[in-house]
């Protein structure tokens, strides 16, 4: 009995000692003030962190040095959080990186603060990190290591302070802009506070004026897009018209002419040193190559039909194949219809077909047509051998020049809608970078921009006011709402039609992939259930508000303000 009691006592002592040992170790982590060293609770059965753990949405965690892993990849330092799984320290999944700041190992310090902005209950993993030391929002999936956790009370105060700081910082950044950029922003009024910084105020009449302005902007964005669509339709008709009267037997000559013209264009683009932006050169080289391939295929199909008809002609009357009354005038046989079909107007393939038709016409007809076509750029190229060459490049709308001066603001915003346009102009990643630049004064890294591209992003960003939806600022009609996670290739760019702050949903318009038109949908800014008390806005959202008056980057033409 005594022995049993001794064992019992020993067990209790060991348990208590163990508890103290753990707590002592944690306390010896030297957490910053306001932080408590705490073991993360986890499910013993699965060894995974659960939703009932100490770490909840919004919890701030201080990262210990031993949990940070630095790596260098492609000349950029990357920071990873070292995971804690099943009691062993294991490297994080690759997608848990926090990103880089410069071409050296990351500046993430042991006391750097990260906060969890979202959680995925399904996998018990945390999703969404915001580091106060980085000028960007990074996100990834990871298991949180043992770290110092900010007290809930202190966390609330810290959030309030950060929001206030962000607001002051934004006003300060606006103040740094030149006079030309300092156009009237409906959110600000020229009232200084005792600290000498501008404060954002707006009374009801200004709010009403702002709403009207945004509605007008929204309408002009839609009108700009419609205008481009109509221009494509018209250009298609103009290049197709000469072919409608051409007999089938004569088409071969036009296809040969097209082949020669496209070869010449391809060579010019290939040998270009100056005169066309790199992205356009890349895209148009690819489109031209596709046009060459299609022309070759159609020559093959044409010849096959001619041979067949010649064979049939020995015993039957030769049948002339007429051009269809609408659609591609070359779609005269099943095989040719397969090659040309009828892609929707905004698709690249439609432009490819138009290139084939245009280059198939005699030079004289091309010159006459160039005066009628709406979507054509006349470029002065400088080739690698130093010679100059003029080319006319057909395009699918929104061909913005490098300087961007004189660009229509609604055209700039409208070009954000279709993915096709974004490829050559500003990707969703670029809009993200613009937002961050306007907020923080520095471009995020990654991505790694070429120098002149970086300058262009900075310049165009001045057309926008960055709205921070995470700080409670609300999207408005006409805003560009960009959804982009930096490690993915696709993003969405919406134009906001309306916003419901209660349910955190926005009615948006975006380009529809298949139909080539725009569609309206409801976009939820939060993926949390509606009945949830504290709903968190998903990571990766950047709201850009086009400045409502003409500015250094773009001007309004006709209709808006």
């Amino acid at each position: 009995m005594r022995l049993f009691n001794s064992y019992y006592l020993l067990t209790i002592i060991l348990l208590i000692s163990g508890w103290f040992f753990v707590e002592f170790n944690l306390m010896s982590q030297n957490c910053p003030s306001g932080y408590n060293a705490r073991t993360l609770t986890h499910s013993i059965a699965s060894n995974l962190l659960t939703n009932t753990s100490d770490i909840q949405r919004g919890t701030r965690v201080c990262v210990d040095q031993k949990n940070i892993d630095h790596k260098k990849q492609n000349g950029l330092g990357q920071t990873f959080l070292r995971g804690w799984y099943d009691g062993k320290t294991v490297p994080m999944p690759e997608n848990a990186f926090l990103g880089e700041t410069k071409n050296e190992l990351s500046a993430l310090q042991p006391e750097s603060e990260i906060s969890i902005t979202n959680m995925l209950p399904k996998d018990n993993r945390f999703f969404g990190l915001k580091s106060s030391t980085f000028p960007k929002v990074s996100a990834g999936e990871f298991h949180l290591p043992n770290s110092c956790v900010l007290n809930q009370r202190d966390q609330h105060e810290q959030e309030e302070t950060e929001q206030a700081e962000n607001s002051l910082e934004e006003n300060f950044m606006d103040q740094k802009n030149t006079n030309e950029d300092r156009i009237f922003d409906p959110e600000t009024n020229p009232q200084t506070d005792p600290n000498g910084l501008m404060r954002a105020t707006a009374d009801d009449s200004e709010k009403a004026a702002r709403n009207i302005a945004q509605q007008d902007l929204f309408q002009s964005i839609l009108a700009a897009r419609k205008a481009v669509y109509e221009a494509i339709e018209e250009d298609d008709q103009n290049v197709s018209e000469p072919y409608r009267q051409i007999p089938f037997s004569a088409l071969g000559k036009f296809l040969e002419q097209s082949k020669a013209g496209l070869n010449d264009l391809a060579q010019s683009l290939d040998q270009t040193k100056e005169g066309i932006e790199s992205s356009e050169k890349f895209r148009f080289a690819s489109l031209t190559q596709l046009a060459q391939e299609k022309t070759l295929l159609s020559l093959g199909a044409f010849q096959k039909e001619i041979n067949q008809q010649s064979y049939l002609g020995a015993t039957m009357a030769f049948k002339e194949l007429f051009s269809p009354p609408s659609g591609n005038p070359l779609s005269r046989t099943p095989e040719l219809s397969e090659i040309f079909n009828n892609p929707s107007l905004l698709k690249s393939e439609n432009l490819v077909n138009r290139l084939i038709l245009f280059h198939g016409l005699p030079k004289q007809e091309q010159d006459l047509l160039l005066k009628k076509l709406k979507l054509v750029e006349f470029l002065d190229l400088v080739l690698e051998n130093g010679t100059k060459k003029k080319i006319s490049l057909l395009h699918n709308g929104y061909f913005l020049g490098g300087g961007l001066t004189g660009t229509d603001c609604s055209l700039l915003a409208s070009s954000a809608l279709p993915v096709e346009m974004r490829k050559g102009k500003f990707t969703s990643l670029d809009f993200r970078a613009m937002w961050i630049y306007r907020r923080k004064g520095v471009l995020p890294m990654p991505p790694r921009y070429k120098k002149d591209r970086a300058e262009l992003i900075k310049k165009v960003s001045k057309a926008f006011v960055p709205i921070n939806v995470y700080a409670g600022e609300k999207p408005m009609v006409g805003d560009l709402l960009v959804y982009r996670l930096p490690w993915e290739t696709s993003g969405h760019v919406f134009v906001v039609k309306s916003y419901d702050p209660k349910f955190l949903t926005a009615e948006v318009i975006e380009a529809s992939q298949s139909a080539g038109t725009i569609r309206e949908r409801v976009f939820a800014l939060s993926t949390d259930p509606i009945e949830e008390k504290n709903r968190i806005i998903r990571a990766g959202l950047f709201n850009l508000r086009l400045k409502p008056k003409s500015n250094q980057v773009c001007q309004y033409h006709g209709g808006t303000i």
């Binding site: 992205s279 890349f282 596709l290 079909n341 969703s428 591209r453």
Partner: protein
């Protein structure tokens, strides 16, 4: 004969990158799923599917309702098509392993790829005797360009 020479010349021209790029097809003549995936990856690697897949390819080579649309693309040093291990009558799975470097766009902007190795499993199904790509679908699939093709442009 002249036409064949022309096709040969163009094929040589488009193979300037060092990797052979198959010429555009508008009909599905692929006898095996492997052949179809080889064609797909070669065209994708040359940037054609990022620029815009043709309607003929979409209809004849896939079961997709729309063509993929991305403003950026993944960049790979090389890729490996794993030979099909199991074969059913009218279903197949082919895995492609990419050795990623970056995420990029036509402007030359680069971001590091989240994962170095990127695996895509293509699920193919036979439709009226022709193999077609069923999954990933258009919204899931990501364009992957070969680094060598980017340098040559």
């Amino acid at each position: 004969m002249r036409l064949n020479i022309c096709i040969l010349l163009v094929t040589s021209c488009v193979a300037f990158a060092g990797e052979k790029i198959p010429i555009l097809v508008t009909t599905n003549h692929f006898k095996t799923p492997q052949e179809l995936i080889e064609y797909y990856c070669a065209r994708d690697g040359a940037g054609f599917y990022w620029t815009g897949m043709t309607e003929a390819e979409r209809k004849n080579l896939t079961t997709w309702k729309e063509i993929p649309s991305h403003d950026s693309f993944l960049i790979t040093k090389q890729y490996k098509i794993v030979p099909q291990k199991t074969a059913f009558l009218d279903e197949a799975q082919i895995e492609v392993i990419y050795d990623l470097t970056d995420i990029g766009d036509a402007h030359g902007t680069r971001s590091p790829a989240a994962e170095k190795e990127y695996r895509v499993t293509f699920y193919l199904k036979k439709h009226y005797g022709r193999w077609k790509i069923q999954k990933p679908n258009a919204s899931q699939i990501v364009p992957v360009l070969l680094e060598s093709h980017l340098k040559n442009r």
